[in-house]
């Protein structure tokens, strides 16, 4: 089992500056999963401001630390996921999460959260669904270095007022 801080080669970030709050990611996520439940959710941060939130697959993930059964774990690609057959639904992960991300699966009572589309990627996809479908390219997937670079580039472009694309 991976230790909580065993950060993997891939990560995903949401560029809130670019995000338009359109909700495509949520719909895509719903569509991808058999149970029709989104793992990324658009919430109303303040009135009128819609932004998505999903698992950040933290570097030292408190949810993995808190999980009493080891159902919450990290795979070799860096995604923190729930092994459903071991999850007892205690939701310690939810209370441990600084962003309150995990949800109770309404059908199974287990913990429900983003796993960076593990199954899709294992099946050959290059990136999670939300990343692929985001119309504003606000969701990014890649190695931490790549992501940092991209974000830096974007911040610079933003600062200089350059057109982005």
């Amino acid at each position: 089992m991976a230790s909580p801080s065993n950060y993997g080669p891939y990560a995903r970030i949401i560029d809130y500056a670019r995000c338009m709050g359109c909700g495509t990611c949520e719909e895509v996520c719903k569509f991808i999963h058999d149970d029709n439940l989104p793992r990324i959710r658009v919430i109303e941060v303040t009135s009128g401001l819609l932004k998505p939130i999903s698992c950040l697959h933290c570097y030292r993930a408190p949810c993995v630390e808190a999980c009493p059964t080891g159902a919450m774990r990290r795979d070799e690609k860096g995604a923190v996921y729930v092994e459903e057959s071991k999850c007892i639904g205690c939701m310690a992960c939810l209370y441990a999460c600084p962003f309150g991300v995990p949800e109770v699966h309404p059908m199974n009572g287990t913990s429900l959260k983003c796993d960076l589309c593990r199954d899709l990627i294992a099946g050959g996809a290059s990136m999670p669904g939300c990343v692929a479908m985001c119309p504003a390219e606000a969701i990014l997937y890649g190695s931490p270095q790549e992501l940092a670079q991209e974000m830096k580039k974007r911040a610079l472009a933003n600062l200089l007022g350059l057109p982005q694309g």
Binding site: A17, P68, I88, A92, Y95, F99, G109
Partner: protein
């Protein structure tokens, strides 16, 4: 006609009387028997794993504003012991108690009362105190980080706001 009589008498004589004189004698229990469960309230977190695992809904959670009650109704229990399997703290113990007969259904109830933590932002009560204590010990070595005092919904909003500020701002 004589043969069955003789056979019966032989068998009866060989076997003797096998009756166990329960309740004056101890019952025919083996050490593996699963009876009623006992919930040790002092270590129960109120996480609800047992409730999720219980096939017959003998364990249920009754929620009110600031209190969460874990209710065990032995009358519906199928004595499978799954709750004890999944309990992360070992608070549930399967006993050998089976003498549960009663004329009042109420007698079969066991209730564990959990007080819930109040969110300072929205004022909602959200997590049973012992569960929060456990999470703090596990993730923050016992001190309560500020975010943990806040309910998950408020955490999301606060979290996104913070991220917008540091990344997009």
């Amino acid at each position: 006609m004589v043969k069955p009589i003789l056979k019966l008498i032989t068998v009866a004589k060989e076997v003797g009387v096998v009756t166990r004189k329960y309740p004056y004698e101890s019952p025919l229990l083996t050490e593996e028997f699963r009876g009623k469960i006992e919930i040790d309230a002092s270590i129960c977190w109120g996480c609800g794993a047992c409730v999720k695992a219980c096939p017959s809904n003998a364990l249920t959670i009754r929620e009110s504003m600031d209190v969460m009650e874990l209710v065990y109704f032995a009358g519906r229990c199928i004595f499978c012991g799954r709750c004890a399997d999944v309990c992360p703290t070992g608070a549930i113990r399967v006993t050998k108690e089976f003498e549960l007969a009663t004329d009042e259904l109420e007698d079969l109830e066991q209730v564990v009362i959990h007080r819930k933590v109040k969110c300072p932002i929205c004022g909602k009560h959200f997590v049973p105190q012992p569960l929060e204590k456990y999470v703090c010990e596990k993730c923050a070595k016992g001190e309560i980080p500020t975010y943990m005092m806040v309910c998950p919904e408020c955490r999301r909003k606060v979290g996104v706001k913070k991220m917008i500020r540091c990344k997009g701002g």
